[in-house]
Symmetry: C2
Subunit: 413 residues, 2 copies
Amino acid sequence: MEKTLQGACIIGQSGGPTSVINASAYGVIRTALDNGSITKVYGAAHGIKGVLDDKLYDMGEEDAYELSLLMNTPSSELGSCRYKMADPDKDDTDYRRILEIFKKYDVRYFFYNGGNDSMDTCDKVSRFMEKSGYECRVIGVPKTIDNDLYNTDHCPGFGSAAKYIATACAEVYKDAHVYDTGMIVIIEIMGRHAGWLAASSALASLVGCGPDLIYLPERDFDMDDFIARASAIYREKGNCIVAVSEGIHYADGSFVSEAKTSATDGFGHAQLGGLASLLSAVIKERTGAKVRGIELSLLQRCAAHIASKADVEEAFLAGKVAVESAVAGESGKMVAFKRECADGKYVCVPTLVPLTSVANFEKKVPLEWITEDGAGVKGEFIDYALPLIQGEPERPTENSLPRYARLKKVLAK
Amino acid sequence: MEKTLQGACIIGQSGGPTSVINASAYGVIRTALDNGSITKVYGAAHGIKGVLDDKLYDMGEEDAYELSLLMNTPSSELGSCRYKMADPDKDDTDYRRILEIFKKYDVRYFFYNGGNDSMDTCDKVSRFMEKSGYECRVIGVPKTIDNDLYNTDHCPGFGSAAKYIATACAEVYKDAHVYDTGMIVIIEIMGRHAGWLAASSALASLVGCGPDLIYLPERDFDMDDFIARASAIYREKGNCIVAVSEGIHYADGSFVSEAKTSATDGFGHAQLGGLASLLSAVIKERTGAKVRGIELSLLQRCAAHIASKADVEEAFLAGKVAVESAVAGESGKMVAFKRECADGKYVCVPTLVPLTSVANFEKKVPLEWITEDGAGVKGEFIDYALPLIQGEPERPTENSLPRYARLKKVLAK
């Protein structure tokens, strides 16, 4: 393809938001606005739905400073969606509509920023355009706090979430150790199938405030074993801090958060609270200890105020490389990261991988990084995650509160 | 008293921890170590219990740099307690023990850092020493995230908690507005009797991300009115963000978090989750909307990583002024803050108020600062709270995680 291709581009954001997904969008938008081959830069409102609905923002109408504030604005500023595209071989209605819109705006570049499902969307769009003979270069830009994308060392969004989780766990540790009468604290962390986020709580051990027990969905959960361990630690130290992935499950595959336990049986019904509430209730019933359940909830994926500089910069880089690669002729690929080491220091090297090698796979924490007892992570995980949480980015403020981008969002004509 | 008094001092921390209570302890410790009248500086392990148990740390044994890190170490580093002292007229056992310890270590200065109950303890100790004819100067150092201490413009600890709450609410707002399918979010904030913390969520409106509804315990809560308002906002805007004090109550005084509602009746039992879970369940049942409950939990009182510089500095100042005042002859007082204005700018002026004027009172949000509909706060609150969240203190880090003080805690001989 390597010939010059003139035309407009679309950037869309999809899936759950992160602290740095807008930094990737800015990487795409800034690089595209500055690139001679790209005639117009459109932002799709709510991802692929904005394309289907012909709702595109003209990013060239935005103020340059406001755009730059996307570097520190959490969540998906263009709007996101969880729209699952049909298999084009079965129903190509949406794809024909997308082609119609691409032709209407002379879109020759499509950048889609998201996780597994979004890379699947990206891949389907890419293949349909190719099949249709409409030249459009499609590049995926990775993001997910879950860090479960295949074929990349890590994902933009993970480092900042990991930094938030480690810091919050350290602070909770400090808080929970203040009284001479102890407490068991259960901290519930996101991650339905992969335990990267819960494992990040172990980073707090570097400042002497790590959890005593960490449970990931990569290993089956055993309630009795958990209670025995937590009770023993509580009896010995007077306190016990537990970090759990929301996705922990029993050996039969059923989620602990949804399963009936003796505690819920006691009440005879499903819980209103989440996993942290459930485990707190069980452990309180079985040990009589003072217990507190804390769910980090949405805060772990939108806490831009404690984003990692490495993560923000890599997120921007992913967007920038997507545009540069597309202009250079690439398509049907996702920007991925390789980890290299130079002078003993971590270096993140962007690369391209086929979308088909990413879509619909899930990368989990290697079992050999989990301690034999299944209740902690080893040094290999710390070595892996530590470079990703480094540094404090510039954070413009207003009244000492975060100054987010204020976009005009002018609809394209 | 104004004569010179030579002797040792004790600093104790009490009640729930905050992000800056250690900055106050450092204000006391540093100033006392540097003061010629004070011969020894002891830290009481777990507040007054450390005195009763003869468990005192010799702060002179600590490394100066480690001590300085108390400025950014959350929670009560010396340990806290919730020990309620008896009325000395009915049972003076504890007081006689305290006197014994004071004599043993030649303690002539006692500084106690805490909230309402701690000022009560402080007052009782002060009066007992006076009655006993043992010269010991007693000064209270205020702290509480709840900001409910009487006779002071505000309390150290509140500003940092308010800053965390405003920032977290802004980030959740961003997150909750990302999909074209909306959501109602209920954010549960601390404050059993006073709504200062929940009101602080309104600061997020300064960056365009404030809650739609804010409920404080200063006004009676009406569930039907709440549901009607939340539903209307959700229908109109597609989203609704609600901030609630944990202490909201019905007109009969019963806490909403403990009361049976139609939703809990539906399940026929008490909740395991807290207020946010309960309100989420009720609103989901009544409106069918997608709802998420978020409890800020311990994070709001220990998030030193986002402490306000103004708060950290004022916390230190409170400790410093306590020592200077005591050495100058004051006793039976608490350090309080007056708000002044110089060149149109906020200035915090330390002052002294009698302990008896503080102990066992609660300062609430003025009713005239709450909107007529009872579902928000007015500009007066913003004007009051905004100066308290200003600035970013120096925050030493290690591996990009907070570097907390590591004290040796050498027991006094």
